[in-house]
């Protein structure tokens, strides 16, 4: 993301102009937007014209509109952001108060004006514009018969494809069905890798997967995104599936003369995971071999932080709090050392609730605590969401008060 212009008054009202450059920037923008903000961006509008003779024609015009935001939709698969609202600046095509939906586009600037820019959104802009935080990692988490192809960017974990093939068990005297199905499974995963991960910027491969039995989403209309180039592909599985798959992959690559794979051989990395389900990605990102290679991805940092929280909960339950009411109490006592909070909470449309979270973050920062805002798209963020979205590791133990517990848990429901 590029920051073109920033104009924020003393009372925190003002506007910011940004240019999204990557699909991930759409996610950042999604987190910046709130109902009631005004957004100005270039868009396409279908305009009806009536000629003097009375015949009606319609044409599509590119125009710049300013909307008062009403609804915000983010499609995490295609990374598209649609913003619906009413026009607040009349122009020749669109009347005042008319509804319009802007679909934000990459590499076109937009201007966002808010009545209040709080610390959380400003941090978010800073983070989005930081060029150092860019490392895309692709991961294939698999077990026999199940593979999840995942793309991990600093702020998002995107499930690109899920391959599920029923593999018959070995039976007495006959393993052919098992072996055949396994082969078919590996083939499907290989095609998935080729189709969904781009190894160099302008590479597009079209493959149609035909499977008589395997359950693969044969979506023919694949959206190719301008994700930055994949730095590394992690292949993770329990047992020997990963090794078997890698040897299959390169054997096939040689046979089919698939240069793209052979050239990128060094990018593949084999890691252990306990299962092929998506949440096992957490273990993969924790693996010391992976962290060494990826130095510091945000995703890995988040996993680590959540793990620390659980460790603390085990060792000193009075130093690990979760649930808004609990954490707020701890924050009032200046006890919060590390605050883990999910960005989902800041997307809350109710301003009072949202500002309660912002206040919590500000308080913790003021008192010298660390704040880690988790991306709800990451696996660890997802888990934190389930855990009421906010958790804290405290500096010193605070005894559990049970009546406060009752109302905090009713909050969570």
């Amino acid at each position: 993301m590029k920051l073109v212009h920033k104009d924020i008054e003393k009372d925190n009202a003002g506007q910011v102009t940004l240019i999204p450059e990557e699909a991930e920037d759409m996610w950042h923008t999604y987190n910046l937007l709130q109902v009631g903000d005004s957004l100005r961006a270039s868009t396409i509008r279908k305009v009806q014209t009536e000629s003097s003779t009375g015949s009606v024609g319609s044409s599509r015009v590119r125009t710049t509109l300013t909307l008062c935001v009403e609804t915000i939709d983010f499609d995490s698969q295609a990374c598209q952001l649609r913003v619906k609202g009413t026009n607040i600046q009349e122009n020749q095509y669109v009347k005042m108060g008319a509804y319009h939906t802007i679909e934000l586009e990459l590499n076109r600037k937009f201007t966002l004006a808010k009545k209040v820019w709080d610390s959380v959104v400003l941090d978010r802009i800073e983070q989005a514009c930081d060029p150092a935080q860019k490392a895309d990692v692709a991961a294939v988490v698999m077990q026999e018969g199940l593979a999840n192809l995942v793309l991990v960017t600093p702020a998002m974990t995107l499930l690109r494809a899920k391959v599920e093939v029923t593999i018959p068990r070995k039976r007495k005297g006959s393993c052919t069905q098992h072996d055949k199905a396994l082969e078919r499974f590996y083939e499907a995963v290989m095609q998935g890798i080729l189709r969904h991960f781009s190894f160099d910027g302008n590479f597009v491969l079209k493959i149609q997967i035909r499977m008589d039995n395997g359950q693969i989403n044969t979506d023919i209309f694949v959206v190719f995104l301008c994700f930055s180039v994949v730095k590394c592909i992690l292949v993770a599985s329990p047992g020997f599936v990963k090794d078997q798959f890698i040897s299959y992959l390169f054997k096939e690559a040689v046979r089919q003369d698939c240069k793209i794979l052979l050239e990128n051989r060094s990018k593949f990395m084999v890691v252990h995971s306990s299962s092929g389900h998506k949440y096992s990605l957490k273990e993969v990102l924790c693996d010391p071999a992976v962290t060494a290679r990826l130095s510091d991805t945000k995703a890995a940092g988040e996993v680590k932080a959540l793990e620390d929280f659980y460790k603390m909960l085990q060792q000193e339950p009075d130093r690990a709090f979760y649930g808004l009411a609990h954490v707020e109490r701890a924050s009032e006592a200046l006890a919060v050392d590390i605050l883990l909070i999910s960005d989902k909470l800041f997307r809350h449309q109710d301003i009072a609730t949202r500002s309660r979270y912002v206040r919590l973050v500000d308080n913790v920062k003021e008192n010298g605590g660390n704040v880690r805002i988790f991306s709800s798209l990451h696996v660890s963020g997802d888990q934190l969401n389930q855990l009421s979205g906010v958790a804290a590791i405290l500096r010193f133990p605070i005894a559990d008060v049970s009546e406060a517990e009752e109302d905090s848990s009713s909050d969570e429901d």
Binding site: P168, G239, S275
Partner: protein, 625 residues
């Protein structure tokens, strides 16, 4: 005695709530179930109705008691209790079984008054309840069946209904079937031991064995020759590690054994669970050689985890094969040492001392497998049975043949001919060729064309059998491993959210809400999250210690709500003991065992069922087993 405490601490409200539900479903059935009483005229039907309502009221009063007894026999509690207590309870329950005779009376009254066919599998309470009266004494069952007209199927088919108990006894020359799983730490010699046993029994012919010997020698793994009998995929042989459950059968003097050879490697525990979930008894193999036993037994080894797993999955009888004894020169001290260490642990895990048997063996040299060993070092101090004798001596468990049909799919594959095959163990009820069955969660019906048990085609199969069914009328894609085939009239419920009682094992991180786990239920492994921590319970009495706890730590007994991503077909533990158990795993280790107590928000409306009858009979089975 803790039982009294338990009765007092028991939540009666819950029972009455349940009763309400049951009451309704019973009434529903009278009104809408057209086929059950289709052959009776309305007057007679009304007659039956009044009779049964009387019976139902009787039961309502009894309900809490029987339920409490069922819950005291819960394995989670049982584990922490001295087993001796359970035995007197069993006796008392059978004696005070007044309501059973009650059910009996009602049924005979119906038979005398009405010439209507008695429905044996239909969802009517008298029928499902009646067999329970048969079970205590086999002779009474026979008498009754000869007295009653041969029951026919409610659907009006001309096919004769089987007397399943009697047929089951006749089958295979009176040899009961037993499902045996072999467990233990990786490289303890499970596959070799069983492979050798199969060879000695003549289930593997000499030529094949010779071939394996030659080939394994060529591969530089001569000692793996016997393991190759069960490890058949190329990958398993190359690596010398069992990866998936190997299945085969053999016969002993008095039993037919379905053998499942589970993998010992940590990463393949999900496969091991699918095997163990289908087992009645287990053989735990431990390596006796110096250092190896300790490696498998200490934290991180699979001996403990496997032991806990099979116990939680309902295995009560265990033979421990202390393997590779030849490597320690058949020393008695070593054997004793291992026995005392293991014995302590197994007792903690919930095995009765009288149900655990220790046998010194050597898988590679084949000592003490099928015949008592003649090695002087061993005979000097060991006079007990050999492994095969011990397997033969296992008591076959009670099978729930009278309950509605349930089969857990453990494998799906295409075979020659029409349709496709599914394999799995029949957990309850029985099946005949031509029957229509319902597969859940896809909620599709199909027809059973063929039944195969141990590679032999059969007309019927009953609970406990490990069969493969050839089915038609359904797309193979819809069936996954983990589906449950059931009786369309008494379908299993599929849900994504359920409440369960769990017992936490030795876990490193505490469990909070939102904790992601892998749910292993029968053959299913499905990602799930713990949505709610409802309460922490007292380990033995079941009293609620704390509501809405912040987190759960090791060794605690708790009630939680679990949400799965996709629907899973579940049964309550009180209805089906076999189908109510599950395991939770997290990052490669087993964190908890649990039983389903309540199904929430079922995705498919359950068919009108006679819960009373099921509950009623299950209470009995709990005691019988």
């Amino acid at each position: 005695m803790s039982r009294h405490r338990n009765v007092r601490g028991y939540n009666y409200d819950e029972d009455f709530e349940d009763d309400d539900m049951y009451g309704q479903s019973v009434e529903d059935d009278y009104c809408i179930s057209p086929f059950i009483y289709s052959r009776q005229d309305s007057r007679q039907a009304r007659h039956v109705e009044t009779l049964e309502e009387a019976e139902y009221e009787e039961e309502e009063e009894e309900m809490p008691t029987s339920d409490t007894v069922a819950s005291t026999l819960d394995p989670l509690q049982q584990e922490s209790r001295v087993e001796a207590e359970v035995v007197p309870k069993v006796a008392r329950m059978t004696v005070s079984g007044k309501k059973q005779t009650m059910g009996f009376d009602v049924r005979s009254a119906e038979e005398n008054g009405i010439v209507a066919p008695s429905v044996r599998r239909g969802p009517s309470p008298d029928v499902t309840a009646a067999p329970t009266t048969e079970t205590p004494s086999k002779s009474s069952a026979v008498n009754e069946d000869s007295a009653a007209p041969t029951p026919t199927r409610p659907t009006g088919k001309s096919k004769q209904q089987l007397n399943i108990r009697a047929e089951l006894e006749k089958r295979q020359g009176g040899k009961p079937l037993l499902n045996l799983v072999v467990i233990g730490h990786v490289d303890a010699g499970k596959s070799t031991l069983m492979g050798h046993l199969l060879y000695l029994l003549g289930n593997v012919n000499k030529r094949t064995m010779h071939k394996y010997e030659q080939e394994s020698k060529k591969a530089g793994k001569a000692s793996f020759a016997y393991a190759w009998v069960l490890d058949e995929t190329g990958e398993e042989r190359d690596r010398g590690v069992t990866m998936d459950v190997g299945m085969t059968k053999f016969e002993t003097d008095s039993k037919v054994i379905t053998l499942m050879d589970a993998p010992g490697h940590k990463d393949f525990i999900p496969n091991m669970i699918t095997g163990a979930a289908q087992a009645d008894v287990a053989v735990l193999v431990v390596d006796a050689s110096r250092g190896e036993f300790e490696a498998g037994f200490e934290a991180g080894g699979q001996t403990r985890e496997h032991g806990l797993l099979v116990r939680s999955l309902g295995v009560t009888q265990l033979a421990v094969a202390v393997n590779k004894m030849d490597q320690v020169n058949w020393q008695q001290e070593r054997f004793r040492d291992i026995v005392s260490k293991l014995g302590h642990f197994l007792k903690q895990a919930g095995f009765k001392d009288s149900d655990v048997f220790y046998i010194p063996t050597s898988g590679l040299s084949g000592e003490n497998l099928t015949t008592r060993s003649k090695v002087a070092d061993l005979t000097a101090w060991y006079t007990g049975p050999c492994l095969l004798e011990q397997i033969d001596a296992f008591k076959p468990p009670q099978r729930s043949v009278e309950k509605p049909f349930r089969l857990c799919v453990s494998d799906v594959f295409k075979d020659q001919g029409s349709g496709f095959c599914v394999t799995g163990k029949i957990e309850a009820g029985f099946i005949q060729t031509g029957d229509k069955v319902l597969a859940m969660p896809p909620n599709e019906t199909c027809t059973v064309k063929g039944i195969t048990l141990h590679d032999e085609a059969l007309d019927w199969a009953a609970a406990g059998d490990h069969v493969s069914l050839t089915v038609t009328g359904m797309d193979i894609i819809k069936i996954n491993v983990g589906c449950i085939f059931c009786d369309p009239k008494e379908a299993i419920r599929a849900c994504t959210r359920f409440r369960a009682r769990i017992l936490l094992f030795n876990i490193e991180v505490p469990i909070t809400q939102g904790f992601p786990v892998l749910l292993h239920y029968q053959t299913v492994s499905e990602p799930a999250t713990i949505r709610k921590l409802v309460s922490v319970l007292h380990k033995s009495s079941g009293e609620v210690l704390k509501k809405k706890p912040k987190c759960l730590s090791k060794g605690q007994n708790a009630v939680v709500e679990i949400q799965t991503q996709r629907p899973v077909a579940l049964e309550l533990y009180k209805d089906y003991k076999e189908l109510g158990r599950f395991m939770l795993r997290y990052v490669g280790s087993t964190i908890a065992a649990g039983v389903v107590t309540e199904v929430k928000g079922s995705t498919y409306p359950p068919f009108p069922t006679k819960h009373i009858a099921i509950l009623y009979s299950s209470a009995f089975f709990d005691i019988a087993s």
